[in-house]
Amino acid sequence: MEILIESIISGILIGLSYAVLAAGLALIFGVMKIINFAHAEFAVLAMYFPTYWFLNWWGIDPFLSAFIALPIFLVLGYIIHRLLIEKIIGTPEAETSTLIVTLGLSLLISNIILIGWSGAPRIINQPYTMATWSVADVLINRAQTYSFVISLGLIVGLFVFLNRTFIGKAIKAAADDPEGCAYMGINLHFVYALAFGLGIAVTAAGGCLMATYRPFHPFFGETIVIILFASVILGGMTSITGALLGGLIIGLVQQVSVLVIPVELQNVAVFTILVFFLYVRPQGLLGKKGRAV
């Protein structure tokens, strides 16, 4: 029984960090209707820089790094959008072209990490990494708990930004009706690039948090990308709330399924959910079914 409760709790804790990663992906898809295949790789990049190296160079705590990562990756995402994505958005094949470009980008990032910092798996070694709380015989990882709290803060921050600030509202408006926005004097280039940067930044922060309790390597992205896809599809692709819910569910399924199937196969359960939703309910949990033609 304790094991089940432990799995459920860690499912929720880990699920929320998936949710943060997926929220960035859903934000980008929701606004520009493109899939960023390199999304997981940005999270991995953030695990190395700033998280791992800032800790090793200057002893900066990974939880602080999560906030340092936000502006860094906002700018990085903004630049990448201006340089690469912007050139193909609006063409008839935009959806496929962006996937191809970001697929190339994902390989580029992971191999640059490999070249720069070697393929050796890394672990963040902080006092809380392996430490646990115990509540009535149920053990809860401390790093995961801290991550959970900060993730919640990030999510609230993201929603406040999108709903309460002018730029946030512009991003939401651009997702609804880009043409209308352009007529209202909103600079779409800026809004798109900002949304892309914001999506990357949120994900990078999520990566920093995840690094505190999970070992990682340059190709770690390949293992979590399927989780991100499953989360956003579960949530209906465009909805951030949906992606958060999706991430939580995926985290729960993954952790609870470990009780039944081997750990290496925990993604198989995720995959099953992904395929089921793709085929049976592609509009996701919250999405509405569109018109046929």
Binding site: I35, S106, L107, I226, N267
Partner: protein
């Protein structure tokens, strides 16, 4: 006819010759280089990656369905063969074909549901499969499978001399390229190009888009699996999940295909010829210090090519080549066109249009006086909004029936229900005593329902003639015959002067005529015409009207939706008025337009009170 067939056979052989010559030259080069391991290895890599990229090109280039999980099939082929050889001692020569069959079956499992998905969903669905096969194989202990060495021998596909592998790979490459070439010049290839550009229009012209995509997918998968086997036996010796299911395979195949040229025969070959050696060279020089340098090159090539050269090297070469070649040819055609135009009075006119002997003889076999189409109690709603309600309509044969009604009255929805873009919630559609309620558009086209669209749907990157040919393929499987029929129709419709121009450059009038031509090429018994006069000037509208009358006189029943009531009154024999999804008037055109309910629908109650009573 005989010479025509022979000519076509000749041109097909001529198309295949360069491939055979290329592969023969490759074999000779390999033979004379001698047994130098390193050079032969690179040669083998070039050939294999070219073969894999060309196989990938069938589904992703020609059919435009980019399969981001293509490594699934390369890996399946390789793993099947290696496992069969290792544990059951089945010769890889047999194993590679079993591997191909397994890959095709897996493609069937993946493709049957996913090919109904679009864009992002399709991409995610296909890439999810290899990503999940990876950990499953690792879990089963197959992360690394060394191919057992049973001594050099032909039966176990293990040769000391690399040249044997090069020859095998060249044979495979020839097989792939010839397959691609044959597809390119067949009805299947035309169907793929059409559905890639405009799935809606392709369906409407009788192309079963789903089955065509599936066929291309299975073919692609099988060919990719063959490559996987030769790759693992000739180069890897140890099959690993990383080398055969890894994402880098996808990036390599994608960059070779895109850099070379999507949907071209020679593009992937050319790109492989310089990308693969470059990658290998860098890997040899800097691989120790920078282990990922090769993949960085492919990643950069992929991004740069997608952004700055989406047509690829071969695409660019071909375009400039054609520009040089086609100048004299084009001027000749224009002269022929001029002659035609002189005869017809200087302009492409509608006066010569209504001559559809060929079409007529092909379609209207039986003459009976009953209605050609019966719509019985059709209901259709979109999320609570009723688009059609208890619609009962009978369409008289060989007449022009006009359908009028204000915006949102359900006119286009009615068309979509008739030819299968939408399925009604209740009720039946009966065409010539066949219940077509649940027919897909391509099936509706097969039984004889043609269609033109409100927003013109043409295949932009095909020539005018090719556009018409897509329609002609509905009844005619042979490429040269379909071409002849299409030329005939282009002549009749006055499009011959533009026959070899890309459809994207046509004027509004020409695109309308093209849509009519293409629909007539499907040899319909019933033609659905959706707002033909939108965007045309009054003179052009009149000509279109005359043309529609001509089509009806040749025996084809026409239903026309039109906003411009006056133009429609002139050509319609029978008229139906719709308002808010209901039929509110039916009868002779003059009756319907003076029907108070119709006037009210268009102009509001006030207007009616003021004018109709007096």
């Amino acid at each position: 006819m005989k010479t025509e067939a022979r000519q076509q056979g000749l041109s097909r052989r001529r198309n295949i010759f360069p491939i055979l010559i290329f592969c023969a030259v490759g074999a000779l080069v390999s033979y004379f280089i001698g047994p130098d391991l390193y050079t032969q290895r690179i040669l083998l890599l070039i050939i294999l990656w070219a073969a894999a990229s060309s196989s990938f090109n069938v589904i992703s280039g020609y059919a435009g369905q980019v399969v981001f999980g293509y490594m699934m099939f390369v890996g399946t082929g390789a793993y099947t063969t290696v496992l069969l050889f290792k544990f059951l001692n089945i010769s890889p020569w047999l194993g590679m074909w079993i591997g191909a069959i397994v890959a095709v079956l897996i493609a069937l499992i993946i493709g049957l549901p996913t090919l109904r998905l679009h864009g992002a969903f399709f991409a995610i669905a296909t890439i999810a499969f290899p990503l999940i096969t990876f950990p499953i194989l690792n879990h089963l202990g197959f992360e690394e499978l060394s191919i057992p060495f049973t001594g050099h021998g032909a039966s176990s596909m293990q040769f000391r001399d690399m040249r044997f592998y090069v020859f095998i790979a060249l044979t495979l490459l020839a097989l792939v390229l010839i397959t691609v070439r044959i597809i390119e010049s067949s009805r299947f290839g035309f169907a793929l190009r059409a559905l890639k550009q405009n799935e809606t229009a392709a369906e409407g012209m009788g192309v079963n888009t789903y089955w065509n995509k599936l066929a291309a997918f299975l073919l692609s998968a099988g060919l990719g699996a063959l490559m996987g086997t030769v790759y693992s036996f000739g180069l890897l010796y140890i099959a690993t999940t990383h080398a055969l299911f890894g994402l880098f395979i996808m990036v390599r195949i994608l960059s070779i295909t895109i850099v070379g040229g999507i949907a071209t025969v020679w593009g992937p070959v050319i790109a492989a010829c310089f990308l693969v050696p470059t990658g290998e060279f860098l890997n040899a020089q800097f691989g120790d210090r920078y282990p990922g340098v090769q993949d960085v090159i492919y990643g950069v090539a992929l991004i740069v090519a997608t952004l700055y050269m989406p047509e690829g090297i071969w695409g660019r070469i071909r375009r400039s080549f054609r520009a040089v070649l086609s100048k004299p040819a084009a001027s000749m055609e224009r002269e022929a066109g001029d002659e035609f135009q002189q005869k017809t009075g200087g302009k492409t006119t509608a006066r010569d249009l209504p001559r559809f002997e060929r079409i007529r003889s092909g379609t209207v076999e039986t003459y009976n006086n009953g209605p050609i189409l019966k719509i019985e109690a059709i209901d259709k709603s979109f999320g609570g909004v009723c688009a059609l309600e208890k619609m009962n309509i009978e369409i008289p044969r060989s007449k022009v029936t006009g359908i009028i009604g204000p915006n949102g009255s359900g006119k286009t929805t009615l068309f979509n229900v008739i030819n299968g873009y939408l399925t009604p919630d209740r009720g039946r559609v009966v065409f010539e005593d066949i219940d077509i309620t649940h027919f897909k558009p391509h099936a509706a086209c097969k039984v004889g329902i043609g269609r033109t669209f409100q927003v013109v749907q043409i295949f932009n990157n095909m020539t005018v003639l090719e556009n018409i040919m897509i329609g002609a393929f509905n009844r005619q499987g042979d490429v040269s015959k379909a071409g002849a029929i299409s030329e005939d129709i282009a002549h009749q419709m006055g499009l011959m002067s533009r026959a070899h121009d890309q459809a994207v450059g046509l004027t509004m009038w020409e695109t309308k005529i093209l849509e009519f031509s293409r629909a007539l090429a499907t040899e319909p018994k019933l033609l659905l015409v959706d707002e033909p006069m939108a965007g045309l000037n009054p003179e052009e509208s009149n000509r279109i009207g005359e043309m529609i009358k001509g089509i009806a006189q040749s025996g084809i029943t026409v239903i026309v939706i039109e906003h411009v009531v006056q133009s429609l009154v002139k050509i319609a024999d029978w008229m139906i008025g719709l308002d808010e999804g209901k039929k509110v008037a039916e009868g002779l055109p003059q009756e319907v337009i003076s029907n108070p309910h119709m006037i009210e629908a268009y102009l509001g109650t006030k207007w009616r009170r003021r004018h109709v009573r007096s």
